[in-house]
Amino acid sequence: MTDATPALSPPSSPRLTPAFVIGATLVGLHVIVGLITLFWAPYDPTAMTGGRLAPPSLAHWAGTDRLGRDLFTEIMVGARIALAVGIGAVAIAATIGVTIGLLAAFASRTVDDVLAATLDILIAFPTLLLAMLIVAASDGASLGTAILAIGIAASSIVARLTRILARRVLAMDYITAARVSGTGWLGIVRIHVLPNIWPTLIVNLALQFGLAVIAEASLSYLGLGAPPPNASWGRLLQEAQATVYTAPFGAVAPGIALVSLVIGLNLFADGLRDVADPTRRRR
C-alpha cells in the first residue's frame, strides 16, 4: 500500500514547558492566597495592628502602612481583588467579544465593514477614559464599574481577534463541505469554528487577564477602582507613593505581588497554546 505513513504515535499528552510550569505555579500561588483570604488572614485588613510605616518584621512580614495596617494581609486580600477583576473582565470580554466577532465574520460584507470600523474606534479608545465615563455614568467607583469598564475595553480586542480567526476558518474547504452536507451556521460555529479558534483565543484571553490585572491596579491608583478600604494593589501603591523614600517596602511589596501575577499569567498564556492545540503537541 503506497499510502503507508509514518507510524502514528499514540495520542500524546500535552508538552509542559518550564515557562508554563513557572507561570502556572505563580498564578496558582496567587489563587491559593486569594482563596485563603476568604476564610482567614493574619490580621483584619482594615484594623490598625502595629506602628505606622513599620519595616518588615516577624509580626508584620511586609511591614505596615501609614495607618498601621498589616501590609501582608492587605496584599493577600489584594490578590483576591485582582483575580476577581481579572475573571470578571475576561468573562465579559469573552462573552461580548466572541459574540460580536462571530457575527461580524458571518455577516454580509457591509455589516462586517461597519462592525470592523466600530471595533477599530473602540480599540483606539483608552481604557482609562472608558472607565471614567462608566464611573461617571454610574453611582460612583466600585469593583463592579472597574470590572465592567475593563471587560468592555478588552471585548473590542477579543472581538477583532475572533473575527479574523473565524474568517480564516470560514474560508476553509471543510466549511464548504459541512455546508454542502447541510450544516446550519450555528452548527458550523459549534463544531468547526469555536474549536479551531479556541487555542489562539484562550491564549489571548489569558493575556487579557494579565492586562486586566494591570488595568485594575491603574484604576484604583487613580481612585476609579474599588474604593477604600478595599485593599487593591493599585490603592496600596498610590498610598505608598508619598512615603516611598522613608518606607520603600510599602511600594515594593504590592509591586512584587502585581508583577509576579502578571508575569505568571503571561508565561501561563504562552504555554497554554501547546496544551490547547493538539496539532502542536507532538514535535
Partner: protein, 269 residues
C-alpha cells in the same frame, strides 16, 4: 428519470465582469462528466454555482436544477434541506478539506448523524461508530480503528483524501462533485485514488462531476468531457472523441501539450 444536475445558460458575474458565460451541462445518474480547462477558466465557479455556494459578491443567472430543484435565486435555507442528499464535494487539498482539530472518525460521524437527523432516524453511538469504521474500510483506509482516532496532520496526503471521500460517501449523495481531487497527490497515490473514486461511483450508481486541468486524469475518470476556456464552453463530447479528434483550436492545444509532455517523459526514460 430526471437529471441529477441540469445547468442551462449559466452566467456568473463579479462586479459586472462575466467570469462564466452561457455554460450548459447535464448529468444523469451513473454518468461521469469531466470539466476541464486551465486555472481561472471558471471550472470551480461552475461547480460552486451548481451547489449554490458562490462566494459573496458573485451573482449567477441562468438555470441550475440540482435534483430537479432550482438553485439560482433560491434562499439558502431552502437549499440546505436537499443539498446534503443531492450532492457531496471532494476538494483539491485534503488538508484544508478536513477540520485540523477533529479526529477523522468524529468528522465522518458528524456527517452520519446529520444524515440520520435529516431522515428523522435516531441512531445509537455504537451504530454510528460501526458505520464510520465500515466507511473507512470502504475507502481502503488501513487499520480504521486506529486511524479513526487520528487527526488529519497525523495522516498522509493519500489517506487524508480517502478520509475526505469517506465523508462525502457518508451523506449518501446521488451526485459527487470532485474538484481537482488528485492534484495535490503524488502520481502513484493519484492512480489509487482515481481507481477508488471510479469503483465507488460505479457501485453506488452516483453521478460524478470531475473537475481537473489534468487531461490524462480526466481521461481515466470520466466518459464525457466539457472544455471550458475563459468562462465559455468551447467543446463537449465523449472522451475518445474530444481527446482523439479535438475540433476547437484550444482543445487541440491542450491535447498537443499533454502529448508533448508524454513524449518528453518517454524520451527521458
Amino acid at each position: 428519470m430526471a437529471d441529477l444536475l441540469n445547468i442551462e445558460n449559466l452566467t456568473i458575474h463579479h462586479a459586472r465582469q462575466p467570469l462564466v458565460s452561457g455554460v450548459s451541462l447535464s448529468l444523469a445518474a451513473g454518468e461521469r462528466v469531466g470539466l476541464i480547462g486551465e486555472s481561472g477558466s471558471g471550472k470551480s465557479l461552475t461547480a460552486l454555482a451548481a451547489i449554490g455556494l458562490l462566494p459573496e459578491g458573485m451573482t449567477a443567472s441562468g438555470s441550475v436544477l440540482l435534483a430537479g430543484q432550482q438553485v439560482i435565486g433560491a434562499a439558502e435555507r431552502d437549499i440546505v434541506g436537499f443539498r446534503g442528499t443531492a450532492v457531496a464535494t471532494i476538494f483539491q487539498e485534503p488538508l484544508t478539506a478536513l477540520d485540523p482539530l477533529m479526529r477523522i472518525g468524529d468528522q465522518i460521524a458528524e456527517v452520519l448523524r446529520r444524515r440520520a437527523r435529516r431522515d428523522g432516524r435516531s441512531v445509537s453511538r455504537a451504530d454510528v461508530a460501526n458505520e464510520v469504521l465500515a466507511l473507512m474500510a470502504r475507502v481502503a483506509l488501513p487499520d480504521p480503528t486506529r486511524l479513526a482516532r487520528a487527526y488529519p496532520h497525523e495522516m498522509s496526503g493519500g489517506q487524508r483524501q480517502r478520509a475526505a471521500i469517506a465523508m462525502a460517501l457518508a451523506s449518501r449523495p446521488s451526485l459527487l462533485i470532485a474538484d481537482e481531487p488528485t492534484t495535490a497527490l503524488d502520481v502513484t497515490t493519484q492512480a489509487e485514488v482515481l481507481k477508488l473514486l471510479e469503483t465507488l461511483v460505479r457501485e453506488e450508481n452516483m453521478g460524478l462531476l470531475f473537475i481537473s486541468h489534468d487531461l490524462p486524469v480526466v481521461g481515466a475518470a470520466v466518459d464525457r468531457v466539457l472544455v471550458l476556456r475563459a468562462g465559455e464552453l468551447v467543446e463537449e463530447g465523449q472522451i475518445a472523441e474530444v481527446f482523439g479528434r479535438p475540433r476547437h483550436p484550444y482543445t487541440q492545444g491542450l491535447v498537443e501539450a499533454a502529448r508533448a509532455f508524454d513524449h518528453a517523459i518517454g524520451a527521458a526514460l
